[in-house]
C-alpha cells in the first residue's frame, strides 16, 4: 500500500495493476495455446478448465481496471482532481483483492459462476461495490452536467450501464431465470453483449479525450456529429447483442432486432479516428508519438474486426461462424487489436513516456505485435472455416477428435504467433513499467 501514500495520482495504481494483469493474461494464454497443440498437457494438475478462466478473467480485468484508471486519470486532468481520492483508493483495493482471490480460487479449481465470470458468485460482491464507488466518484466529480463533451456522456452511460448489465448477468441465481436453458442463455448473452458495449464506452470515451489532446482541438467532442454517433453506439449497446444467440431456439424477434440494429459501433470509431487523423499536425504527433502509434494500430484493427463483425451479425452467415474459432478470432481482434492497443495508448500518455530509448523499445514491441497478430488472427479464422465445414456437412461421419486433428497445423501456427505476440507485449509492458518506476525514483 506504499504507493497509495505518495503523491502519484491514484489512476497510476489502476494502470500498474492493469499492466500486471495483461502480463498474466499473456502467460495463461500461452499455456492454453500449448494445451491446444499438446492435448492433455497438465491434464491432472492444471487442465484447460483452470487455464481458460485464468486467461479470460485476467484479460477482462486488464481491460476493466485500466479503463477505470484511464477515466479517473482524465477526470483528474479535466476537473483538477477527483471528488474523492479515498473512494478511488477503496475501488482499487476492492478490485485488486477480488481479482487476486478470484485467480487463486481458479488455481484451486473452485468455480461456480459462468463463462467469463467463472468465479463463485460471492466474489461478485466486492466488484459490484467497487463499481458503485466508481460510479459515485464519476458523477460527483463531473458535478455539472450542462454542456459537457461527448466523452463525459460516454463515461457516464458506460459506467451506469455496466452496473446494470453486470447485475443482470447474475439473474441466474434466481430460480425463475435459471429454470429454462434457452431463457437463461438469452438473458446471459443479452447482459454479456451489452456489457462489452459498456466497457467500450469507457475506452472509446478515453480515446476521444486523448485525440482531443493530441490534436489540440476540442471541436469534435462538442460537435453534433460526435453526439449522433454516440447515440448510435448506445443504441447498439442496448439492442445488438442477439448475434450471440442466433442459433438458440429463442423467439424470432430477437434475431430481427439484432440483425436490424447490427454492429455499427466499430464503424463509428473508425470514422472518428479517420477524421481526427487528418487534423493532427506533425509537431503534436511527434510529442505524443507512442500514443499516436497505438491509436493508429487500433485504427487498423477496427477495420479488420469490423469486417468480421458485420459478417457475423448477418444470421445466415452467423450459422457458419457460430461455435467455431472464427468467433475466437473476432474476440481476439477486438480485445487485443482494439481494446489493448487503445489502453496502451492511454498508458503511454498517462505515464508521459518521452525518453527516446524507451520510445524506441516500446515501438519495437508494438511492431512485433503488429506482425504476429495478423498471423494469429488468420490461423484462427482458417481453423474456424474448417470447423464450420465439419459442423455443417461432416459432423455425422467424422468424429470431433478427427476434426480437431485435421485443424491441428493451424493451432501450431496459432501457438507460434501467440508466443511472438506475447514477446512483443512483454517488451511493451516491461519498458512501460521500467520507465515509470525509474521516473518515480528520479522524482
Amino acid at each position: 500500500m506504499e504507493l497509495l501514500k505518495d503523491k502519484k495520482p491514484i489512476s497510476h495504481l489502476f494502470v500498474i495493476t492493469g499492466l500486471l494483469l495483461l502480463f498474466s493474461t499473456l502467460i495463461f494464454g500461452t499455456i492454453g495455446a500449448f494445451q491446444y497443440v499438446f492435448p492433455g498437457l497438465y491434464r491432472e494438475s492444471f487442465s484447460f478448465e483452470k487455464i481458460r478462466p485464468l486467461h479470460v478473467s485476467s484479460a477482462v480485468f486488464w481491460i476493466l481496471i485500466t479503463a477505470c484508471g484511464s477515466v479517473l486519470h482524465y477526470l483528474i486532468k479535466k476537473r483538477n482532481g477527483l471528488w474523492s481520492n479515498k473512494l478511488a483508493q477503496w475501488q482499487w483495493f476492492l478490485f485488486t483483492i477480488a481479482v487476486v482471490v478470484i485467480l487463486i480460487t481458479y488455481v484451486l479449481g473452485i468455480f461456480g459462476g459462468r463463462e467469463y465470470w467463472e468465479f463463485h458468485p460471492y466474489l461478485a460482491i466486492p466488484i459490484i461495490i467497487a463499481w458503485i464507488l466508481f460510479l459515485i466518484n464519476v458523477i460527483k466529480t463531473i458535478k455539472d452536467f450542462r454542456k459537457q463533451p461527448v466523452y463525459i456522456w460516454m463515461w457516464l452511460t458506460g459506467t451506469v450501464f455496466f452496473l446494470f448489465t453486470y447485475l443482470e448477468s447474475y439473474l441466474w441465481l434466481i430460480p425463475y431465470f435459471r429454470s429454462n436453458i434457452v431463457h437463461d442463455m438469452t438473458i446471459q448473452w443479452k447482459s454479456y453483449g451489452s456489457m462489452v458495449g459498456c466497457w467500450n464506452m469507457l475506452i472509446y470515451g478515453c480515446s476521444i479525450y486523448l485525440m482531443d489532446k493530441i490534436s489540440g482541438s476540442e471541436k469534435y467532442s462538442y460537435s453534433g456529429i460526435s453526439f449522433a454517433l454516440y447515440f448510435l453506439g448506445l443504441f447498439n449497446l442496448m439492442f445488438n447483442w442477439g448475434h450471440h444467440i442466433y442459433t438458440l431456439p429463442a423467439p424470432k424477434y430477437i434475431q430481427y432486432v439484432s440483425y436490424g440494429v447490427s454492429m455499427t459501433e466499430l464503424l463509428l470509431l473508425g470514422r472518428i479516428i479517420y477524421y481526427w487523423k487528418s487534423s493532427v499536425n506533425t509537431a503534436r504527433k511527434l510529442y505524443h508519438i507512442l500514443s499516436y502509434r497505438f491509436l493508429l494500430a487500433a485504427d487498423l484493427w477496427i477495420f479488420l474486426t469490423l469486417l468480421l463483425a458485420i459478417a457475423m451479425s448477418i444470421p445466415a452467415i452467423n450459422i457458419y461462424t457460430h461455435g467455431t474459432h472464427i468467433t475466437v478470432a473476432h474476440t481476439m481482434g477486438a480485445t487485443i487489436g482494439i481494446n489493448t492497443f487503445l489502453l496502451l495508448a492511454f498508458v503511454c500518455n498517462i505515464f508521459k513516456i518521452h525518453k527516446p530509448k524507451t520510445e524506441k523499445r516500446i515501438t519495437a514491441g508494438l511492431y512485433i505485435t503488429l506482425v504476429a497478430l495478423p498471423i494469429f488472427w488468420i490461423s484462427l479464422i482458417i481453423a474456424g472455416v474448417l470447423k464450420s465445414n465439419w459442423q455443417m456437412h461432416l459432423s455425422n461421419e467424422v468424429p470431433f477428435s478427427a476434426m480437431m486433428q485435421s485443424i491441428h497445423p493451424f493451432f501450431v501456427v496459432f501457438l507460434i504467433s501467440g508466443i511472438i505476440l506475447t514477446i512483443g507485449f512483454f517488451v511493451i509492458i516491461g519498458n512501460l513499467l521500467a520507465a515509470y518506476f525509474m521516473k518515480t525514483q528520479e522524482n
Binding site: 492435448p39 484447460f48 478448465e49 468455480f111 461456480g112 445466415a316 461455435g323 459442423q391
Partner: protein, 132 residues
C-alpha cells in the same frame, strides 16, 4: 445539438431498452430444469466443474471439446457416465459420485429436450435471416 435534445434522446433510448428488457424477462418459456430438481443440481455441477471452459451448449463455450447440447440423445447414458467417470486423454477424470453423475445426466436430458443445437439444421434465407 442542445442539452435538452441530448437528454430527451437518452431518455427515449433508456426507456426502450428497459421495456425490451422487461419483455424478455417475462417471455413465457416452459421450465425444463425446475429449481431443486436433479437437472438443476446437474446444472450447478456443470458450473462448479467449469465444463463450459472446454464444452459448448448451443455453440457457446470453449472449443477444446465438443458441443454437448444434444449429447443425451446422441449417446447412451452408459457412454456419458464412462466419460464423466474416467475422463479422456485430454479431459481429466472428475471422480463424480453415482448421484452426481445422475444429476449431470438429468441436466443433459433437460438441455437436449430444449432443441437441436446443430447449425446444419438451420436454413438460411435470401434476406440474411435464418429459419428453424
Amino acid at each position: 445539438m442542445s442539452d435538452r435534445v441530448k437528454v430527451m434522446t437518452l431518455i427515449v433510448l433508456a426507456v426502450s431498452f428497459l421495456c425490451y428488457t422487461l419483455f424478455l424477462y417475462k417471455e413465457n418459456y416452459s421450465s425444463n430444469a425446475e429449481y431443486g430438481t436433479m437437472a438443476d443440481k446437474g446444472k450447478r455441477l456443470w458450473q462448479e466443474k467449469n465444463c463450459n471452459a472446454c464444452h459448448q451448449i448451443y455453440g457457446l463455450g470453449g472449443y477444446l471439446g465438443p458441443d454437448l447440447t444434444n449429447v443425451y440423445s446422441n449417446r447412451s447414458e452408459a457412454y456419458i457416465k464412462h466419460f464423466l467417470q474416467n475422463g479422456t486423454n485430454i479431459m481429466p477424470a472428475f471422480h463424480l459420485t453415482e448421484q452426481q453423475m445422475n444429476e449431470m445426466l438429468a441436466y443433459f436430458k433437460s438441455i437436449d429436450s430444449s432443441g437441436n443445437a446443430s447449425p446444419a439444421k438451420l436454413k438460411p434465407n435470401y434476406d440474411g435471416t435464418i429459419e428453424r
